[in-house]
């Protein structure tokens, strides 16, 4: 009985194990035999091949390097940069441009454009020394066409510049010449060789130009989402509440109540739809850009202006005209951050490259120069963020950190040291006190003295721990802003020997400059104003509630402005400064304001009493009383710039506890407040 029970339990155990075995084994056998069915719903991907590891490589080992070489450049029937441009002529002095003189009587515009190129740093008068020969083809509307010039040489190293689409028949073969023309069609455009220009209206200003229309960063509430470019000119703002595709003729629905603005008025909307078919629409593109209306280009058949260097994805949207609803939905749902960025970029680009004929031509030359420079060309960042490549010279540096404009994007900080540059003009007393005050600053790295008067150099200089360099020679006033190679820091404290500053003034001003490295930080100010009576600009050094300039006899600014002053300003302006020395301050302020589009910064200047009178006997006063330059100076410079870049500020940056009725012990810049 017991054994039977035992046997029974044994059998039970045995059969249970068998069952388990059969179940487990059978299941796995089943899995082997039948390929598993994919679970429904899951996408069936590319199979994992069992023998994937055994597959051969697409290129057999040894095959890659064994390519039999035949140095036969692949050739086509058109030109590219490597094949058709001879850079050997440009070695040494960079891009030098010779402009063919016009053959017959020329229009006023042509004349002024010629003058503008001749005034630029690219120009040369000798066709032999030039690396680029420029053929202006401007007066198309007058019906004149250029004939083949003398040094044509099959068009090698030539640039044919057509600002307006030419009705001219091609009177001669272009050969190897590059073409810069307005809105070239995508099919005829040779990327990296031709240059695409914007489609300029006839009355485009030559110089300066109207600023962008945008007055605020973000779109006004209630502004129309879309403006549509009309075939007969003008814009129509569209209501986008309806789901219709407002620009597509195939849509049967009415696009809703629209408002038509005729004539040349600028569109007032967030996005501007521009057809890509008609080349005339390209002129609308520029209009939209100026208005800060984000251009939405529908399948453009033409090349966008300066597409070689400008990243248009930051300022415009290129969309497919075949997907109207999707584009509309995408525009409606676009994040405020993106809209904000696009809007601001339109304004920057307009202002930097398109607002005047001069800018367009200079940009064209800069594009070609960048090709010649190769690795020393402008990095993309310099082209695509303020102040733009025309104002950020790649000859200064190709590293964005070296400029005052890109610290944020680069995650870098301005240097913690400065160089003091002291100009000693007549009567020529060594500025001993000043040197000591400046050398006392913990941020000072070096002192440079520009000895610029008749007197011989003093034999002894005050003993300071600071390295002191004396640059001797009778110099022009504009040499104050020469980019001396001995300046080793980014920050420069520009001083006149007659200035008087205390160490804590210098320290505080420098700390402020570090927060605003692209601006000028100064102690003494002056301002400009519109003089109704004379119909011109006026200048005053009186103390007022606002200011637009700081005097460079005591100011911090970035070393880069010396390079810009010397290499980018037209020669005529620098001559003006040399002839009327008081103009040099105004000129420098104009330059910095034109670059930054911001006012300078004023910091407190403590000394109201003449306790720091220079040792000079013949000085005009205890401290350089800012002399009012001839008002003409402001007007002449404004005319040369083509606009008035100066901006006014109503604030002064003081130390946080400045003149507060609290214990002096708390204050870091105590001596700033001493009477």
């Amino acid at each position: 009985m017991q054994s039977w029970r035992r046997r029974k339990s044994l059998w039970l155990a045995l059969s249970a194990s068998w069952l388990l075995l059969v179940l487990l084994g059978g299941f796995s056998l089943l899995r082997l035999a039948l390929p598993p069915r994919p679970r429904p719903g899951a996408p069936q991907g590319w199979p994992r091949w069992l023998d994937a590891e055994l597959l051969q490589s697409f290129s057999q080992a040894g095959e890659l390097p064994e390519d039999a070489a035949s140095p036969q450049a692949p050739h086509g029937d058109s030109c590219n940069w490597g094949a058709c441009f001879d850079t050997s002529k440009c070695r040494g002095n960079g891009l030098k441009v010779f402009v063919y003189p016009a053959s017959g009587p020329i229009s006023e515009t042509h004349h002024r454009i010629l003058a503008s190129i001749e005034g630029s740093r690219f120009h040369t008068f000798s066709p032999a020394g030039a690396c680029l020969l420029l053929l202006l083809s401007l007066d198309a509307q007058t019906g004149e066409c250029n004939s083949m010039p003398l040094q044509w040489n099959r068009g090698r190293n030539h640039l044919v510049l057509r600002l307006h689409p030419a009705p001219c028949p091609k009177t001669f073969q272009l050969g190897q010449a590059m073409v810069a023309e307005a809105s070239p069609t995508v099919d005829s455009f040779r990327p990296g060789f031709d240059v695409a220009l914007p489609f300029l209206p006839e009355a485009h200003p030559l110089r300066g130009g109207a600023p962008g229309q945008l007055q605020q960063h973000s779109p006004q509430p209630g502004i129309a989402l879309l403006a549509l470019e009309e075939e007969r000119g003008g814009w129509r703002t569209a209501d986008t509440g309806s789901s219709a595709c407002p620009w597509d003729a195939r849509c049967e629905q009415d696009p809703g109540p629209g408002q038509t603005q005729r004539g040349e008025t600028l569109p007032n909307a967030t996005f501007c739809l521009i057809s890509g078919h008609r080349p005339e629409a390209a002129s609308r593109f520029l209009q939209a850009l100026q208005a800060g209306c984000i251009p939405v280009l529908l399948s453009p058949r033409w090349e966008l202006p300066f597409s070689e260097v400008i990243d248009w994805t930051k300022a415009a949207i290129v969309a497919d005209e075949r997907l109207p609803l999707q584009v509309l939905a995408a525009l409606q749902e676009m994040s405020p951050a993106r809209v904000l960025a696009l809007r601001q970029q339109t304004q920057f680009l307009w202002d930097a490259y398109f607002s005047s004929v001069e800018k367009v031509i200079h940009t064209t030359l800069e594009v070609i120069q960048d090709r010649i420079f190769g690795p020393s060309a402008h990095p993309s960042l310099l082209w695509n963020s303020p102040p733009g490549a025309l104002l950020a010279l790649s000859t200064f540096s190709t590293s964005p950190q070296d400029f005052p404009f890109y610290h944020l994007q680069q995650g870098s900080r301005p240097e913690g040291r400065f160089s003091a540059l002291i100009w000693v003009g007549p009567p020529g007393q060594p500025p001993l006190k000043l040197i000591q005050a400046v050398a006392g600053s913990q941020h000072c790295a070096q002192i440079l003295v520009l000895w610029s008067n008749e007197r011989p150099l003093p034999s002894s200089w005050p003993e300071t721990a600071m390295p002191l360099t004396v640059i001797d020679g009778h110099r022009k006033v504009s040499d104050r802003f020469f980019p001396y190679s001995t300046i080793r820091t980014d920050a420069i404290l520009s001083l006149d020997a007659r200035s008087s500053l205390s160490t804590s003034e210098v320290d505080f001003a420098f700390v402020v400059w570090q927060s605003f490295p692209e601006r000028m930080v100064g102690f003494l100010t002056s301002s400009h104003f519109w003089d109704e009576a004379h119909g011109g600009w006026g200048y005053t050094a009186e103390r007022t509630n606002e200011f637009s300039m700081v005097l460079t006899t005591a100011a911090f600014y970035h070393r880069y402005y010396h390079t810009l002053f010397t290499h980018s300003l037209p020669k005529a302006l620098r001559t003006l400064a040399d002839e009327a020395p008081t103009c040099v301050d105004v000129l420098m302020n104009f330059l910095v304001a034109a670059v930054t589009k911001l006012p300078p910064i004023k910091v407190p200047y403590g000394k109201q009493c003449p306790d720091a009178a220079p040792l000079a006997s013949g000085g005009p006063g205890p401290r350089p009383k800012p002399q009012a330059p001839a008002p003409d100076c402001v007007n002449q410079i404004a005319a040369a710039f083509g606009h008035m870049p100066l901006l006014s500020s109503r604030l002064r940056l003081d130390p946080v506890l400045f003149k507060d009725p609290v214990s002096v012990q708390r204050k870091k810049y105590r001596s700033l407040e001493k009477p």
Binding site: R39, S59, P71, A330, A377
Partner: protein, 751 residues
């Protein structure tokens, strides 16, 4: 925004079994069964001795068989097999040799040759890409087939390892769809990576018979080695009509800009050799050429350079006398010196990549991997992904004609730029060259960006190495612009129930000339705001917004009622600010529209003892925050605060009813990279910090809380974005020796 994701974002619970095919899960189950059978083993033999010997042997044998079987089954079931199957549960497992064979009749149609005028808007059918909320194209891959001609001779190798990897990568990506009807882009499984391994006409016929071929519209072919001897065309010779070509080695003549995609030639060495990153800086050789099979003319030019510049130039060639078994691909020689390739590339600053028979060279990938700056000498070559990658930052392109000047061109590049290029070269390799997968995904991304341009990836995302992306700040209000004064500002007063004080604030603020609207945010749900007639009569519109919940973040909501760009946030107890102070504050904001411009200044400090941040409200020489109890800022920051605040900060602030002002300071400083501006000397406010009647103890807990906030926010942002400055803004003539009545803002200066 340069903020880190919060800690613990990607934590998994390793042992929680959620999915039936979870690997861990099955292992555990296996263990349970094994343990059970061991127990069995122990109990079993205890019964046996009482049985007859004959039976005993019988049972023992039986048991052993069962046990062995069980163990074997268990092993088979759950061991290595299970790991594989758990991953690929749903994927077909077959051999490449078993794929269906398709016979191509000799007279089957051949596509037209490539159409050189193709552009996206002419040859590409966008309608297939339809509406797509994610802005992602859908890619379909044709099933693998083996194509043979009439005589049964295969048209090509069925598939190469790399093409299989490429299709696997696409199939694993978000782009993939298995529904041919929903696809926007079709990728044939016909492998055309290397033109030399296929028969051109028959491959074209195979393409033409694909089910959705339709003249090749929306079909994407990948080819890395185009052309064949003797003239080596720079694009795939297989007629392909309108199909897009992702090709390695395009020239300007064959590349259809904006239609084709130029891709790298994958270097199989990338996978085989692990070159650890070598930091930038000067290297042993300035210039190196390691190419073999160069045309004698080029080699002469290079050797001339070596003679001229001596040690700094190294020209390598193939080794002639290598012993058996050594891979010639992995060795290079100079005279009798043998070098390991590609390791030797790490010894050079610049590496020459010359045009061989083909324009595209796999060597470019090796050079980038070694962090060597490629000197590309191949006229008209379209560099890989040149549509999006900025090669100026990672390479030097020298015209073939200028080869002899190469050395002086390279020497003119400043050292800092060279180091930048070295870093960039390595980053390009890591991001876009390293694997077939990287190449495939970059190609699809480029096509995707053309179809959904409004969602395209930016230049910076393509080109900036992660270190730069992390460190850089892109200010959302980057345009230098001084808004017109005429616009004015909107004052927003957050209030709960202090009606009397609120009315005083409204009256005071309404005296400011530039005020254009006043918005009262009524945060009390239990009480109605006073009747209309009771409110102070002011010259500008006054709106009351009632909120649904008493939350601090209501103050920063981007209300539709805000029409001006400038917003003045002001507490309902800030009654001491004069009209001059407020007007001046607005003027200062106009000059700094991208900053917080406010009156109460605060500072954060590093507490060395506690090793954490500390909040400081003493009157110090420095400022890093301004409190939003009285501050001007751009209304865009309201949008950012409400919708883009990183981590859980917004909820945290609402839950703790504190620190919304510190959060705003963090947000603005992080996104703009700039410091705040404190205006005017004013320091005493009847501020939230002094509400308690007996300030001291409460004050201390308050300071602790505020310090906690700073530490919490710094950890969420992953950095300390606040910037410390030593200045404040005063009117130009503040405290100057000047007649008061001539000053624009005379009523400024009390603490």
């Amino acid at each position: 925004m340069s903020c880190a994701s919060g800690p613990g974002g990607g934590l998994r619970h390793p042992l929680r079994c959620q999915e039936p095919w979870d690997e861990e899960c099955e292992k555990e189950a296996a263990c349970v069964i094994m343990c059970a059978s061991v127990k069995y083993n122990i109990r079993g033999p205890a019964l046996i001795p009482r049985m007859k010997t004959k039976h005993r042997i019988y049972y023992i044998t039986l048991f052993s068989i069962v046990l062995l079987g069980l163990i074997a089954t268990g092993m088979f079931q759950f061991w290595p097999h299970s790991i594989e199957s758990s991953n690929d549960w749903n994927v077909e497992k077959r051999s490449v040799r078993d794929v269906p064979v398709v016979r191509l009749p000799a007279d089957s149609p051949i596509p037209e040759r490539g159409d050189l005028s193709c552009r996206m808007h002419t040859c590409f059918d966008v309608y297939r890409c339809g509406f797509n909320p994610k802005n992602k194209i859908k890619v379909y891959i044709y099933a693998l087939k083996k194509y043979v001609d009439d005589f049964g001779i295969p048209v090509s190798n069925t598939i190469s390892r790399e093409y299989n990897e490429l299709l696997t990568a696409i199939s694993d990506s978000d782009y993939y769809t298995d529904d041919i009807n929903r696809a926007c882009l079709f990728v044939p499984s016909i492998d055309v990576l290397n033109q030399n391994t296929l028969r051109i006409k028959e491959t074209a016929q195979a393409l033409a018979q694909l089910s959705r071929w339709d003249r090749g519209t929306n079909h994407l072919l990948f080819n890395m080695l185009p052309g064949g001897p003797p003239d080596y065309n720079t694009a795939l010779d297989v007629p392909r009509d309108r199909a897009l070509l992702a090709g390695g080695g395009f020239s300007t003549w064959t590349y259809r800009q904006g239609y084709d995609v130029s891709i790298p030639v994958y270097s199989p060495l990338s996978a085989a050799v692990d070159l650890p990153e070598k930091g930038p800086g000067p290297r042993r050789y300035f210039l190196m050429s390691s190419q073999v099979g160069l045309h004698p003319e080029y080699r002469e030019d290079l050797e001339a350079l070596q003679v001229k510049h001596g040690e700094s130039v190294l020209v390598l060639d193939k080794c002639t006398n290598l012993s058996e078994g050594v891979l010639s691909v992995r060795k290079r020689c100079h005279k009798h010196q043998v070098f390991d390739y590609p390791q030797v590339l790490q010894e050079a600053t610049f590496c020459v990549v010359l045009r061989g028979a083909r324009l595209g060279q796999a060597m470019l990938s090796d050079v980038l991997q070694a962090g060597c700056v490629p000197v590309v000498i191949a006229d008209s070559y379209i560099l890989p992904f040149s549509e999006v990658l900025d090669w100026k930052r990672a390479s030097v392109v020298v015209p073939e004609e200028k080869m002899s000047d190469m050395y002086s061109i390279l020497q003119s590049i400043p050292q800092r730029q060279i180091e930048e290029m070295q870093r960039q070269a390595r980053w390009f390799w890591e991001a876009y060259f390293q694997s077939i997968k990287a190449i495939a995904l970059a190609t699809l991304q480029i096509i995707n960006d053309r179809i959904y341009p409004y969602a395209a990836i930016s230049y910076e995302e393509w080109n900036d190495p992660p270190a730069v992306k992390w460190g850089s700040v892109s200010n959302p209000l980057f345009l230098p612009l001084i808004p017109p004064q005429s616009q004015g500002f909107t004052a927003i007063v957050l209030t709960y129930d202090r009606v009397e004080s609120l009315f005083r604030v409204i009256t005071e603020v309404s005296k400011v000339p530039s005020l254009s609207k006043l918005l009262v945010v009524w945060n009390n749900q239990n009480k109605n705001p006073p009747e209309d007639s009771l409110w102070p009569k002011i010259r500008v519109p006054l709106k009351v917004v009632r909120t649904a919940e008493n939350k601090l973040s209501n103050r920063f909501f981007p209300y539709d009622e805000i029409e001006t760009e400038a917003v003045l946030a002001i507490d309902d107890d800030i009654i001491m600010l004069t009209s001059d102070e407020l007007q001046f504050g607005y003027e200062v904001w106009r000059e700094f529209p991208d900053r917080l411009v406010g009156y109460p200044g605060r500072l954060h400090l590093w507490d060395h003892e506690m090793n954490k941040w500390k909040y400081e409200s003493e009157w110090t020489n420095e400022v890093s925050m301004v409190l939003t109890g009285a501050a001007f800022y751009h209304k865009y920051f309201n949008y950012l605060y409400t919708y883009k605040m990183p981590g859980d900060i917004k909820n945290w602030v609402d839950a703790h009813m504190n620190c919304e002002d510190i959060a705003m300071n963090f947000l603005v400083a992080n996104v703009t990279g700039k410091a705040v501006i404190k205006v005017t000397p004013r320091k005493k406010f009847k501020c939230p910090e002094c509400t308690a009647i007996d300030g001291l103890s409460l004050d201390q807990t308050h300071m602790v809380e505020r310090s906690e906030c700073i530490n919490k926010f710094a950890s969420v942002f992953g950095t300390m974005p606040l910037k410390v400055v030593e200045h404040r803004a005063d009117p130009v003539l503040y405290k100057d020796d000047f007649p008061e009545k001539l000053k624009s803002f005379p009523n400024i200066g009390s603490l």
